[in-house]
């Protein structure tokens, strides 16, 4: 088994800028068979109650495995309260869903199937429809999601030493990103997320966010930092889709978020000039690269 896993890890090509290390639990090592099966299941509409939608309906490859709609839409047109996130590079994740209620992909992948607001299909019925054990369904979907990778963006090529990969404006944006604007305080590392939870004031107190999982007051209305990979592909932005453009996002953070008792201590007024705001937007557009999936 160890030899088999070694070979398989080399089969999944890693785009430039991402780690070669692809974390997977001991109980669910990556295999070609599981990845292939997981891909079929990801696009299989039998996994929704009325057979109208698959995982890919909200995590559309055309949109960086994310959604172009403001809020997630489930079977029968049920409107969710949050956006469907992009799921590129989730192999590197350590918390899943906007509120982090799942800590592994194995824990995460079946929840949307049974969620009444999403695919609304009981797991017993789901495994019956596809003729698989629940563990097989879970492990295959998790394995496939681990192969959905985005990298080799201009940003990556610049960090690898290609000084021409970013424009002068984007290079200025990168300096602001790590410096004055403080974006890198949360959007950190190759996947541009700290996998932690922050209250920016977006959405107000109506959505408990992380608090619904931890019941800690300091987690009230805190949401997970999303990866910025392919961010330009999927407006509108934030967990509730309330900001229409990247310019709106920068403007929001420049003003120091939305004041509330739990506002994250890292969110503060930035006093960015118009040119600085434009440079940050330009940098965000340089985070779109090459998306690959499957074996």
């Amino acid at each position: 088994m160890w030899i088999c896993v070694l070979l398989l890890a080399q089969i999944v090509p890693i785009p430039a800028g991402l780690d070669i290390f692809l974390p997977a639990p001991d109980a669910n090592p990556l295999t070609i068979e599981k990845i292939k099966l997981g891909r079929q299941l990801f696009f299989d509409k039998r996994l929704s109650r009325d057979r109208s939608m698959s995982c890919a309906s909200c995590h559309d490859p055309k949109f960086g495995f994310g959604d172009s709609r403001k809020l997630a839409v489930g079977v029968g047109g049920k409107l969710g309260s949050r956006r469907a996130p992009r799921i590129v590079n989730r192999v590197y994740g350590s918390s899943f869903f906007w509120d982090g209620r799942a800590s592994t992909l194995e824990d995460q992948v079946l929840k949307p199937i049974s969620d009444p607001n999403e695919m609304d299909l009981g797991l017993a019925e789901a495994v019956s429809r596809v003729g698989l054990e629940e563990s097989t369904l879970r492990n295959a979907l998790a394995s496939y999601v681990r192969t959905i990778l985005s990298g080799d963006a201009p940003y990556d090529r610049y960090l690898q030493g290609d000084r021409t990969a970013l424009t002068e404006q984007q290079r200025f944006g990168l300096k602001l990103f790590s410096g004055k604007a403080g974006c890198a305080s949360c959007h950190v590392g190759p996947n541009l997320t700290d996998e932690r939870f922050h209250n920016t004031g977006i959405g107000g107190p109506a959505d408990d966010g992380r608090f619904s999982v931890t019941r800690k007051p300091e987690d009230q209305s805190a949401f997970k930092t999303p990866s910025l990979r392919e961010v330009a592909l999927t407006p509108p932005f934030m967990h509730d889709g309330s900001l229409a453009t990247l310019e709106d996002v920068i403007e929001f953070y420049d003003k120091g978020g939305k004041p509330n008792p739990n506002l994250d201590s890292d969110i503060r007024q930035l006093h960015l000039s118009a040119g600085e705001k434009q440079a940050l937007v330009a940098l965000l557009k340089a985070l779109s690269g090459k998306i690959r999936e499957g074996p």
Binding site: V5, G17, D19, I20, F21, G161
Partner: protein, 530 residues
Amino acid sequence: MLVAWSYLCSAADHHSVTLHGGPSHDGRYLSFVDGATGELAIRETATGLSRNITTKPAGSKEFAYFSSISRDSRKVAYAWFNDEGFYDLRVVDIDGSNRRVLYRNEQAGFVQPCAWAPDGKQILTLFFRKDNISQIALVPVDGGPPKILRSLHWVYPKRMDMSPDGRFIVYDSFAATDAGERTIFLLAVDGAKETKLVDKPGNHLFPLWTPDGRSVVFISNQDVMSVRIEDGRVLGEPKLLLRDPGRILPMGITSDGNYYYGVRSGEVDVFVTDFVNPAARAKRLTLRFPGRNSSPAWAPDGKSLAYLSRRGTENFGQESRTIIIRTFAPDEERELPIKLAHIERVRWAPDARSILVSGSDNKGRGGLYSVDLQTGSLRPLVVEAGASFRGFEGVWSADGKSLFHIHGDSGLRLGDKVLFQAQGLRNLVAAPDDRSLAFCEGDDIVIVPMDGRVTRRVPMANVNELEWGSSLIAGTGSDLWEIPKDGPPRKLAAPANRQTGMSLHPDGARIAITAGRISSEVKVLKLSLK
């Protein structure tokens, strides 16, 4: 497993030996940086003779840093601070010939070669990027882009090493999110698997493979330990090899089992003494933490004093420090429990209710923070990702309304407003009359009113600190100088072992100084490999 230890060399044997290299696999050589010149050097262990194997241009500010000798003892990989102001990864033959740049990328940040692959085709290298990400990378010796195996947020592994069969890497990192303590991880070179080697409470770091590939030797709290490994899995419990060897920096293990490590010895402490005759009546300040203290700062009322006290036994990189508040009536000291990754220096706020701290937080952001003296709560004042871990130098105006700081490479600022634009400013102080600031620029002490216009320049080289009480005081090496309002600097009495870090008492008669000596030695511990 321990048979004996022996002494190899010290700073006294060779001028300014640094501990940032290591032994060759066959034990014939030890690489190090000649601290006096910044050149990479090789010491032949049999003869004790040393020679430089790099040559930099005259007047250059370039220098060598970490190094690693190839397993066949023919080449040395080393970090080189280049003429553009960042670090290259370079390779040179052991005789000093064939020097070449292997990887030059400003965005890679700091580079630290740690080990050669067994076939000599790749160098295990640590990158530390400007965005505070460290990356475990394999750099091909024959060119080509590095392979990034693993990225780590806001942590710099103290050491990593590759197994003799080339299949695994061991490194230390934080044991968990928000954990201050480290543990040892084992990462498969193909990226397929990572496991925690030591899963016990404590601080575990500096892992090195034994030459037979069957054990990893590491530091656990104050002790040297080892753990057996087979096919990437731990066998049994870690075993004690050597108890508390002091402030240790492991350097490498040779093929015959000699474990090379550097030890830092000596004491540095804070003393309170007479300003006019500091060596005569110096009194050690601390009540409970002798030998590990620095950076004193008198409170505005002169009734208490803050200083930094080192914690832990690590002998590399950022020291773990805490803030101590010493009062004299009653005679007490208490530790401020604050969560910062590094504390460089402290200064009192004019209202004496808080302390201004230069340093960096656990997200790798450097800057200035305010610490409430009653609650210990921390408030960022000027903090940025990408700033030095030492933070910014800052001073309050005497009325407590203005915070001046030196902002990285962009000059003296009041808030966002740039008052004095220049690179490399340092040693910022404010006059007690709240009218002037002083700082160093190159080989000048610059005195400006609070608006930043230069009123006076005093030529003085190698100033390592300024202090402004009844007069402006400058430190150069162990010497102290008074800078009068007019006329040339006047040399003051100072202990020969004075270190950077002083504070004048508001009464003008007393001074708190830092003094002591720290030296480094390289020692060898013989490991039994059976």
